[in-house]
């Protein structure tokens, strides 16, 4: 019984990686790489013109990025499945990308066999999520897991958190809020505890990741 060839569009920001993966994928008889893209825009455009069966999508790509490219391809090409190949296992991304229309999600830590397998699975109309990512998503569904840690903060804690995340010193914060330095320090340690971080920089990074705080752009 002859199986149809699966046509693949390969998206990755590194040319040498695309080149190597193309050869590795083409070694599998059923798979054929029909195009390569290095940016989000290019991925969208080639999906439209080549109508591949599967897009292997790198998330960290220049331009509109992997998330937006996934959304546009999923919206425009109903017959194209998208398998995300993420650079780092990150707890925020799988849900967003699957919501955006991806059918598969793996990390770059997988082997070529797993990629080939994932491609075949999504072509059958099923979803494929690698074990490490699935574990993470499962953990997020447990009590307290899915909720943003910032939702647990009181109004005052949130205020102090935002000022710390902007880079203000304890002294500045205490002056602004008319509270003693000691009180601000108490708030800070309570924030560390509630957010599971160990210092101000970790706190600020967490806030930026969750979109609670932005980047300071002053000179």
């Amino acid at each position: 019984m002859e199986q149809p060839i699966i046509r693949i569009l390969l998206v990755d920001h590194q040319e040498m990686v695309r080149c190597g993966l193309q050869r590795l994928l083409n070694d599998t008889p059923q798979l054929c790489v029909v195009g390569e893209a290095s940016s989000g825009e290019e991925a969208v455009q080639l999906s439209r013109s080549l109508k591949p069966d599967v897009v292997l999508m790198d998330v960290q790509i220049p331009g509109i990025g992997g998330l937006e490219a996934t959304r546009r391809i999923a919206r425009g090409e109903a017959d194209t499945r998208i398998v995300v190949v993420a650079s780092q296992v990150d707890d925020l991304f799988p849900i967003r990308l699957l919501d955006a229309g991806a059918s598969g999600y793996l990390s770059k830590n997988c082997g070529i066999e797993e990629i080939s397998n994932a491609i075949c699975v999504v072509c059958r109309g099923e979803r494929y999520i690698s074990a490490d990512i699935a574990r993470q998503m499962a953990l997020a569904t447990l009590p307290g897991g899915g909720q943003s840690p910032f939702e647990r903060l009181s109004q005052r804690e949130l205020q102090v958190m935002l000022m710390v995340a902007q880079g203000q010193s304890v002294h500045d914060i205490s002056e602004h809020l008319c509270l003693s330095s000691k009180t601000i320090s108490t708030y800070r340690y309570r924030l560390y505890e509630k957010l599971g971080v160990g210092n101000d920089v970790e706190l600020a990074r967490l806030a930026i990741r969750h979109g609670v705080a932005g980047l300071a752009f002053q000179a």
Binding site: M16, V17, C19, G20, D90, A165, G167, Q168, L215, A216
Partner: protein, 228 residues
């Protein structure tokens, strides 16, 4: 830039490459491209620079190629360590194009070559060939940007004022590491690390560590995972 000349270095005797990359799939792809050339064999792969040092001790490669994702801190630190351990083995680093400061420091630390991680396969081979001949390789765009920064009237980078050690500590602080962790990582006392940290704050005219982090992110020196 140096055109990829046909290698006279015996095709029957390919050069051993030690590839450093934390991601299995990326390693597999690069390994395939290198070995298909017939001029190179990936003799070993390491997922970080410490592992690379252990492997290189056992089986000396002819070149060490570093392609690590994420921030430049680990790369700068790791590549410097490798250089100190193996001054005779050329190190080629694939760096984020925007990390100009990191690339400059890498060259100062003695790496043989620096190319953008987005470079073409052709340029990658040209770079490898150059450093295997014991020459240094700098990509056109990096050379141009480094030269431009030396022109009169060009605003100096705030990081120029930092020593290598200070820059290293600055980057680790910006990544969210605390004093104890930094002290442990760099084999320094906590007091010494605090001294460096205070000097960095002073030199960059900043009050808090979070301000340092914002500065580092603005200059593309560190990234916050999960943000696009």
């Amino acid at each position: 830039m140096v055109a990829p000349t046909p290698s006279t270095q015996a095709e029957d005797n390919p050069a051993d490459v030690l590839l450093v990359d934390s991601r299995q799939l990326v390693r597999a792809g690069i390994e395939r491209v290198l070995s298909d050339s017939g001029q190179l064999t990936v003799s070993d792969v390491a997922s970080n620079c410490d592992e690379a040092i252990r492997l290189a001790r056992r089986q000396r490669p002819q070149i060490i190629m570093i392609n690590l994702p994420g921030s430049g801190v680990e790369v700068l630190d790791g590549a410097s360590k490798i250089r100190r351990q193996f001054p005779d083995i050329p190190v080629l680093v694939l760096a984020e194009e925007s990390d100009l400061i990191i690339q400059e420091r890498l060259l100062q630390a003695g790496v043989a070559g620096c190319v953008s991680s987005l470079c073409s396969v052709e340029e990658l081979f040209a770079a490898i060939e150059t450093v295997l001949k014991d020459e240094r390789y700098i990509s056109d765009s990096l050379a141009w940007r480094l030269a431009e920064r030396r022109l009169p009237g060009h605003e100096a980078s705030p990081f120029d004022r930092l020593t290598h050690r200070e820059l290293q500590i600055f980057l680790l602080v910006a990544e969210g590491k605390n004093t104890s962790a930094i002290a442990k990582e760099l084999c320094l006392s906590r007091k010494t690390v605090n001294g460096y940290r205070n000097r960095v704050l002073q030199k960059l005219h900043m009050q808090t560590e979070v301000e340092l982090m914002h500065l580092a992110i603005r200059h593309g020196l560190v990234r916050v995972p999960g943000t696009i």
